[in-house]
Amino acid sequence: MGFAYDFDWGVLWRQPYGMWLLEGLWLTIKIGFLAWIIALSFGIFIGTLRVTPWRWLRFIATAYTEVFRNIPFLVQLFFWYYAGPMVFGQHLGRQINQIMGLNYYVAIFALGLYTASRVAEHMRAGFASISRDQYQAVLSTGMTQYQMYRYVIIPYALRIITPPLTTEFLTIFKNSSIAMTIGVAEITFMSYRIDAETFHGLEATTGAMFIYLILGLTVVRIMGIIEAKFKIPGMIGRE
C-alpha cells in the first residue's frame, strides 16, 4: 500500500487555514441571507401571480417556475456569470466584468432567483390549501382583490407554509456552496483552497462538513422558534 496517509487535523486551527474556514462561513451566511431576501420577496410575488384571475400573468409565473426548476443551478449560475454581461453588448459588458466582486453579486442574484421559483411553488400549495369560501368571505366584506391578497390571503398562506420554507432556507445555505465554481470564497471554496496549499483536503472538507452541520442545526433552532410563533393554532399538526 503506497498510500499511507498522514492525518493532520491541526490544519483546521493552524493559521491562516482555520481563519480561512471562518471567513468562508461568514461569506456563506451573507450570501444565504441576501439571496433569501430576494427569494422570499420575489417568490411570494411569483407565487401570487400563479393564482390571480388573469391568464397571462398566470402563464408568465408558471413559465418562470418551470424554467428555473428544470435547469441545474450550476448552469444558471454560469449563464448569469459568463453570458449575463454579454447581453448588454460588448462595451457595457466589458465594464460590468470589471466590477469588483462581480462573482459575489452574481451568486446572490442567481441563488435568489433560483430559490424564488421554489418559494413560489410552496406559495401555490399554500394558496391551494385555503378554501374557496375564505376568498369569498373576504370579498364580501368589501375588500378589493389587491387588499384581499395583501391583508388576508398572503399572510395566511405564509403562516401555513412556514415549515417547507424552513427547509428551503436550509437549502439556500447548502446551494450557496455552488458559488465556489465562479470563485466565491465561501466555506467549500476555502476547504478546497486549504487542500491546494497543504494537501490536507480530507481534513479541511471534514471540518467544513461539521461547520455546515452546526450552521444547519442553528438555523433549525431559530426557525423552530419562528414556526412556533407563526403557526395557526389547530391548523398544522406538527409533532
Binding site: E66, R69, F78, Y82, L202, L213
Partner: protein
C-alpha cells in the same frame, strides 16, 4: 445563432453522454441502496435504526458539492490508489442520493396499512404472495411520482461532478467557451437541453400523480 455549438457539437454531445452514464449509474445504485436505507429507517432494531438515521440526517444537511470533494479525497486512501473522477463521482452520488431515495422508500413502506396486509392474509395468500401481488405494487405506485422527481434532481445534480474535473456536459461546455467565448449560445444550449429532459420528466411525474389520485391511491 448557434454556430459555436454546431462547430463543437460532437465534443458537447460526448459530454452529455458522460452525464447520462453518470445519471444511470447514480440512479441504479442510489435507488437500490435507497430501498435498503428505507428499510433501515423503519427497523425496530435500534442498532440498525440509529446509525442509518444518523447517516441520512447527516448527509441531507450537507451540500452535495462538499460530499463530492470529500469522497474525492477519501477514496484514494481507502482504495490505496488514485481513482478516476468518474468512479469517485458515481460513489459519492450513490451514497448521497440514497439518503433522499431512502426517505421516499420509507414513506412508501409506511403508507401500507396493517389492515391491508391482514386482509391479504385472510384471503389465504402467503407472505411472499402478499408482498409480490399486493404490497409491492401498491407501494410502488404511490412512490412512483416522487421517485421520478428525485431522479430528475439526480440528473441535474450530476452537473456538479464538474468540480472534480470530470468531463461531463457542463465541463465540456465551459472548455469550449474558453476557446470560443460564445457564452450566451453555449450555456443557453446546455440550459435548453437540460430543460427539455427535466420538463418532460416532471410532466411524466405529474401524470402518474394525477392517475394515482384518480384511483384514490395517493
Amino acid at each position: 445563432m448557434f454556430n459555436a455549438v454546431a462547430r463543437n457539437i460532437y465534443f458537447l454531445l460526448g459530454g452529455f453522454g458522460v452525464t447520462l452514464q453518470l445519471t444511470i449509474c447514480a440512479l441504479v445504485g442510489g435507488i437500490a441502496l435507497g430501498a435498503l436505507v428505507g428499510l433501515g429507517r423503519i427497523s425496530r432494531n435500534k442498532w440498525i435504526y440509529h446509525p442509518i438515521t444518523l447517516y441520512v440526517n447527516f448527509l441531507r444537511n450537507m451540500p452535495l458539492i462538499l460530499v463530492i470533494f470529500w469522497f474525492y479525497f477519501v477514496m484514494p486512501i481507502i482504495a490505496g490508489r488514485p481513482l478516476n473522477p468518474f468512479l469517485s463521482a458515481v460513489i459519492s452520488f450513490i451514497i448521497f442520493e440514497a439518503t433522499y431515495f431512502g426517505e421516499i422508500f420509507r414513506a412508501g413502506y409506511q403508507s401500507i396499512s396493517k389492515d391491508l396486509t391482514s386482509a391479504a392474509y385472510s384471503t389465504g395468500l402467503t407472505y411472499s404472495q402478499t408482498a409480490r401481488h399486493i404490497l409491492i405494487p401498491i407501494a410502488f405506485r404511490r412512490m412512483l411520482p416522487s421517485l421520478i422527481t428525485q431522479s430528475i434532481v439526480t440528473f441535474q445534480d450530476t452537473s456538479l461532478a464538474f468540480v472534480i474535473g470530470l468531463q461531463e456536459f457542463v465541463r465540456r461546455t465551459s472548455i469550449v467557451d474558453n476557446l470560443e467565448v460564445r457564452s450566451i449560445q453555449l450555456f443557453g444550449f446546455v440550459a435548453i437541453v437540460f430543460f427539455i429532459f427535466c420538463f418532460t420528466g416532471s410532466k411524466i411525474s405529474r401524470y402518474f400523480e394525477e392517475k394515482g389520485r384518480k384511483l384514490g391511491m395517493i
